[in-house]
Symmetry: C2
Subunit: 209 residues, 2 copies
Amino acid sequence: MPSHPVPDIVVGRLPVYLRALTAMTQEGKVITSSQELATRLGFTSAQIRKDLSHFGEFGKQGLGYNIPFLSEQLRHILKLDRIWGVVLVGAGDLGRALANFQGFQERGFEIRIVFDSNPAKIGQSLGRFVIQDIDQLVPSLHESDIRIAMLAVPARVAQEVTGRLVEAGIRAILNYAPTTLSVPSGVFVQNIDPAVHLQRMTYYLLEHD
Amino acid sequence: MPSHPVPDIVVGRLPVYLRALTAMTQEGKVITSSQELATRLGFTSAQIRKDLSHFGEFGKQGLGYNIPFLSEQLRHILKLDRIWGVVLVGAGDLGRALANFQGFQERGFEIRIVFDSNPAKIGQSLGRFVIQDIDQLVPSLHESDIRIAMLAVPARVAQEVTGRLVEAGIRAILNYAPTTLSVPSGVFVQNIDPAVHLQRMTYYLLEHD
DNA sequence: CAGTGTGAAGAGGTTCACAGCG
DNA sequence: CGCTGTGAACCTCTTCACACTG
């Protein structure tokens, strides 16, 4: 619990650090250093030390960082020392991929319910879920402790669905719809649009084929 | 063609501007202002004007921006005034979702070939593609003009596949594998890891329920 | 006179460099 | 003696505020 506010860009790097630490653990490593992490992740060692220093002193001078300990600390900072329930909206191909993805659980998340608006899909199963009617979204979620949504619907309905999600108490949205969502303050959005990510790289590609 | 180098963070916002302009066109709008774009996207109008000013003068004082003209300029800047061929590696659920996604084409991309390493999948079809043997990746791509890859394989093989992609002349990788890739300079990577994006938001969520 | 384009000022983020500790 | 943690310096990015123009 830092007394100074932590830059969001720093918060954004912590999950990447945690992911690397988890991989190192699987490789049997127990100790690492800011330099080793930096080389592996393409950051500088000073940046990693500075980032961590916002939250406490997790290393030992002359020695480095204990990987299980630092992992635990990062999980605590990111509030991953629990499982967050997640609602998935949209049961298309992308929704199916997300619903079937094995790997959310071990990283702190569990999809608990899936909605779609297509009458032909409602009642059908998607992986281990039965697809629910989106008109039940607000009442269903309001009684739950779910605060996180994954939005995998077409862009044209994304804002309308977002309104319902917010009304239902959702506070964090992972938005796969290729549009910018408008949300009240206190609601957080992360956007994943493959075309946007690709277009960010074409700028740097050379002209000739 | 700016004489000063453009900050990457500015380049990263251009696709978002372009996406909004495209949506405005579909809404029948022809003129906009930095203020209108800013409100819609959650930026400041000064930032939008400053970002665009790196590349030229696209607006009319007192009037604003002509949407078709600005869109065309952005497409040119981002080298989207052509279709980029893309290779997809990984024919799992996510690969299927990407292969079936209608919407790359209109934003400048076209998946041209799909690889997987699973012998049970090679030769099978995935949407309009026949899945190719990943051992043919290097020779197949080397003769093509494909410079962009989408990587939808498990983390444990992502680095090995990346080596092959680079060897095959790939210069931009959209990485869905939950691991940090190491690439030579001149190769660009964008990472999409839903857990990382979610974990970035849990930091801000309140403790209680 | 509305709205762009832009130097200048202000914030914010990164890197340096080294004291200090195990 | 190696590596962390951290003020200070540096650099980058954002915002301000206004001259300018259609």
